[in-house]
């Protein structure tokens, strides 16, 4: 008989995510459901406000990808107003976007995802001298992986374990057989977990130099940027460059090496060799650089066919709410959508933990909507970005992927896995780290003849405006859509990376990337579902981002409806 497993809260992510799966007698997952359990209604709040404040407000959708929504919302308004911002502002936004990617990807890998791969307890039995040798296998110049460094880390962790109270490390899945690192490899990764804490701060500081602070920088405005004093200060520019060098060094000498190490250790671990079951990928242009060219290019791949890449057509985006806690009679384009909350409650049933309230999977079961492109579910994120650019023959991406495959001895197909998704994030970051100096140089060169950073926008209250913006956020393609009327926001919609990936089943029964990724996965112990966490974490979930709505079309608050099962 099939059994249901409930995993809530999914920890080490942004926000509130619930996963439920049904396993057969062999503990193989037959069905899976993903649900976001929080709704905040931020886009409702935007209605009637000045478009100038949109960026600051949508920024609060998420404090992890703290720059993505800020920039995307601001650029949607710029697009609506037909505003071409100064080139300095474009470069500066690129540099801040880079800082976000570094920060986000490093924190994701080392502090959110790592504990799915690294068995902290196992690192205790490592031989630090041997581990230092192992580290040299994956790079000629390891960081924080010399014998002395590793011994100090081991001592620290031993202290943790000895005291019997593990604090944030308590009650985890240590000892699970799908942890594949040797004790020495675990120790190296642990050392980088700690070093990474330091490096992520430096990456955050990079953004703060031009943004005032991080999280939630405050220098992007409709029409450009405000941080002119920082931009014109050679000391500030130098500070940025120095911090960039520190971060890039870590990306190359630790992040890259650790992914190669993971490929080595987990190359035969079945639970990470699946996990990519929606083979449609979509991404957009990102990192405006020298000569006005982007580092990564937009595109769509269908059914894993790398021989054909289509251009993204914004008209083909629609959101379905069949199984989401909203009501609507058909999938809607972001400009036209109406969204009305319709909460229905959980349903009680037997689970591996006994009777529990569970998702009503026949009905509505998530605050996340289901975006579709031409009716199809799409995976977004670094893997999608790399595949599209590989298929397009983007030379930097082709070279990086080929080099990685050669280094690890893996075939191209290995990218279509949980491991590949995690590796893609590193490769995307590393290519960016090499490119960023050029963007920086282009900015400095341009400053020699032009220091314009802002153009004052003008909104005619008698005119109606409509606009959107696509950016490639750390978790994938993000788009914001805005209508402006009487000088204020008439409606607003954000179609977010985690929404693409985490959305529930649609009206046609198509399932999205999260739910699909878990099918066929065998669990060692359904009560300790480490394998599920590893796959879901490989998407880098950001739930606060994924849940949002707008375009209220005159619906007043009194018309909020709650389903019959709600308390």
């Amino acid at each position: 008989m099939n059994q249901r497993v409930v995993i809530d809260p999914i920890t080490r992510i942004e926000g509130h995510l619930r996963i439920e799966v049904e396993v057969d007698e062999q503990n193989v997952i037959q069905k899976a459901w993903a649900s976001s359990t929080l709704w905040r209604g931020i886009e409702v709040i935007l209605k009637g406000r000045t478009p100038m404040d949109v960026g600051l407000l949508v920024q609060r959708i998420c404090g992890v990808c703290t720059f993505s929504h800020y920039r995307c919302g601001t650029e949607a308004v710029e697009n609506a107003l037909g505003l071409e911002i100064p080139v300095n502002a474009k470069y500066l936004r690129s540099l801040m976007m880079s800082a976000l990617h570094y920060h986000d990807h490093l924190v994701h890998f080392y502090h959110l995802h790592a504990l799915d791969w690294v068995d902290v307890v196992s690192a205790l039995s490592a031989d630090p001298a041997k581990a230092a040798q192992v580290a040299l296998k994956y790079t000629d110049e390891p960081i924080a992986a010399g014998e002395g460094d590793l011994r100090a880390v081991q001592k620290r962790v031993q202290g943790f374990v000895d005291k019997g109270r593990l604090g944030p490390f308590a009650n985890a899945y240590w000892g699970n057989k799908t942890y594949r690192f040797s004790p020495e490899q675990n120790l190296i990764a642990l050392s980088h977990y700690l070093k990474g804490l330091e490096i992520q701060r430096v990456a955050a500081e990079m953004m703060a130099i031009f943004g005032g602070k991080q999280p939630h920088p405050q220098s992007v405005v409709v029409g450009g940027m405000t941080s002119i004093r920082d931009l014109l200060s050679p000391a500030r520019l130098q500070e940025w460059k120095a911090k960039h060098d520190i971060v890039r060094d870590f990306i190359k000498r630790a992040y890259h090496a650790d992914i190669v190490m993971a490929a080595d250790a987990f190359g035969a671990e079945a639970s990470v060799l699946g996990g990519v079951n929606v083979h449609n990928f979509i991404c957009t242009n990102e990192f405006y650089g020298a000569d006005g060219k982007h580092l990564y290019h937009q595109g769509v791949i269908h059914d894993g066919d790398l021989s054909k890449v289509e251009d993204v057509n914004p008209d083909l985006v629609a959101e379905d709410v069949t199984h989401s806690w909203y009501s609507a009679d058909k999938p809607q384009h972001p400009y036209e959508g109406t969204t009305i909350p319709e909460y229905t409650d959980y349903v009680e049933r037997d689970t591996v933990y006994g009777k529990l309230p569970t998702l009503d999977n026949e009905g509505k079961y998530s605050w996340v909507k289901s975006p579709r492109y031409n009716g199809k579910p799409m995976e977004v994120g670094p893997l999608a970005c790399l595949l599209v650019n590989f298929a397009r023959g983007n030379q930097k991406v082709v070279d990086a992927i080929n080099a990685f495959l050669q280094e690890t001895g893996l075939p191209l197909e290995a990218l279509y896995t949980t491991l590949g998704r995690t590796a893609a994030r590193m490769i995307e970051t590393e290519i960016l780290a090499d490119e960023c100096d050029k963007i920086f140089d282009a900015l400095v060169t341009n400053l020699g003849s032009d220091d314009t950073l802002y153009i004052k926008p003008n909104i005619d209250p008698n005119k109606e405006y409509i606009g959107h913006s696509f950016i490639e956020a750390p978790r994938g393609m993000l788009s914001h859509w805005v209508r402006i009327k009487n000088g204020v926001v008439e409606n607003y919609q954000a179609v977010v990376p985690t929404t693409w990936n985490a959305g529930p089943k649609d009206a046609n029964g198509n399932i999205g990337p999260y739910e699909a990724s878990l099918l066929g996965l065998k669990l060692e112990d359904p009560k300790k579902p480490l394998e599920v966490l590893r796959i879901i974490h490989s998407f880098d979930p950001c739930m606060a981002c994924s849940v949002h709505m707008m375009d209220y079309k005159g619906q007043s608050l009194g018309e909020f409806r709650v389903g019959p099962n709600a308390a």
Partner: protein, 378 residues
């Protein structure tokens, strides 16, 4: 009004009592500092800076140092409600040396969804154990607002499907003290902005206990750590302002200590972002700065290891540590003008009065007045 001597005595007694409690970590903070390559000297410097931050006289820095060493006697439960995780993120930006993070390592962090290794059923077990075993002794930190409409069903957490509202009430009951970290848990924040679709509220509005409110979107890591240190040291809440914010952090207006204040007094203003006046660092009031209405220590402490703060980056303060700032302080690119905010008695001070009278003429008049004031001092 309590004397510092009495407060010092209270702190001493509290730490004495904590010392009698069993440590939850065998490794002492001293060992940890050594492992991290932080010298005793650095540690004492850090203690002195926290002491200064808390507006306490220097002799208290020994108490701060001792409190840091005893912090592991105080278990911490950190809940996430309707939020964006920006406050947790802020915490990880701690200053170098890495002491603040270390304090968090050192504090017995029993539950924190973003950081903990356990998930699902096991995570919930950790929470339940902490609430049971440390009843009456744990510190509760809440990040995010509490949705209250529709029975709180806009947020559910855990396999048992409890609403955020239920969870906060439950956790608050056994807590020794409660800290709302950030504007959302303090005052409702962005989701409580009009029309507040989910009925989002600050924690203090849904329970009947005193809650310390750390306003800020997000608050700086220093304001979070300082508040925790204060509680460890004295076992009670610090002096609070009318919104229950610690006075040591929120006692002065951003405007009072602003680096551009001289330009305000001289009537020198940025007319539009990044213009020539902006290059010279003129005052941002006319492009919307809400520093005159906002209480926080951003100008002195800054963010990200003192790297910057919004006004240095050429953008006005948006008032993010104030209740209802999304509604009361908007539009963010326009001066607030003749709007009196709840409870802020700005008329008591000349500059504030000028601001409330906000027209440029008023500001010009003030500039003239301050010229006179200056000449008198000469």
């Amino acid at each position: 009004m309590e004397t510092h001597a009495a407060l010092f005595e209270q702190g001493r007694k509290r730490l004495e009592a904590l010392r009698q409690m069993p440590p939850r970590q065998q490794e002492s903070l001293k060992d940890k500092l050594l492992e991290h390559g932080i010298s005793r000297r650095d540690f004492m410097k850090w203690s002195a800076s926290v002491t200064a931050l808390l507006a306490l006289p220097l002799p208290f820095s020994n108490l701060v140092a001792e409190a840091a060493e005893l912090a592991d006697r105080v278990p911490l439960v950190w809940l996430h409600m309707a939020e964006c995780t920006g406050c947790s993120e802020s915490l990880t930006r701690a200053d170098t040396p890495d002491l603040d993070t270390l304090i968090f390592d050192h504090i017995s962090l029993e539950y924190h969804e973003t950081l903990m290794a356990a998930a699902g059923w096991q995570a919930e077990e950790n929470l339940e154990h902490a609430m049971e075993n440390y009843r009456g002794n744990y510190l509760l930190a809440v990040e995010g607002a509490v949705p209250t409409k529709n029975g709180g069903t806009f947020l559910k957490v855990g396999a048992k499907g409890k609403t955020g509202l239920e969870l906060v009430k439950e956790a608050a009951e056994g807590a020794a003290a409660i800290i709302s970290v950030g504007t959302c848990s303090s005052f409702g924040g962005v989701q409580a902005a009009a029309p507040n679709p989910t009925g989002a509220k600050g924690v203090h509005e849904v329970i009947d206990r005193t809650v310390i409110n750390l306003g800020g979107c997000p608050p700086s890591e220093k304001n979070i750590v300082g508040t925790l240190m204060y509680f460890v040291m004295f076992g009670r809440l610090p002096a609070l302002d009318m919104f229950n914010r610690p006075k040591w952090a929120y006692g002065a207006r951003v405007h009072d200590n602003c680096e551009r204040r001289g330009h305000f007094d001289s009537g020198e203003f940025v007319e539009q972002f990044s213009d020539d006046n902006a290059k010279d660092g003129y005052c941002l009031y006319k492009v919307g700065c809400k520093g005159p209405y906002t209480y926080n220590n951003c100008p002195t402490e800054r963010f990200n290891a003192h790297v910057s703060w919004p006004v240095l980056a050429g953008h006005g303060c948006i008032g993010c540590s104030e209740p209802n700032f999304w509604d009361d302080m908007a539009d963010f690119e326009k001066p607030l003008g003749r709007q009196l905010l709840h409870g802020i008695d700005a008329s008591a001070d000349t500059v504030g009065a000028v601001i409330i009278g906000a027209a440029v003429v008023g500001i010009g008049a003030h500039a003239v007045a301050s010229l006179f004031a200056n000449s008198k001092e000469d």
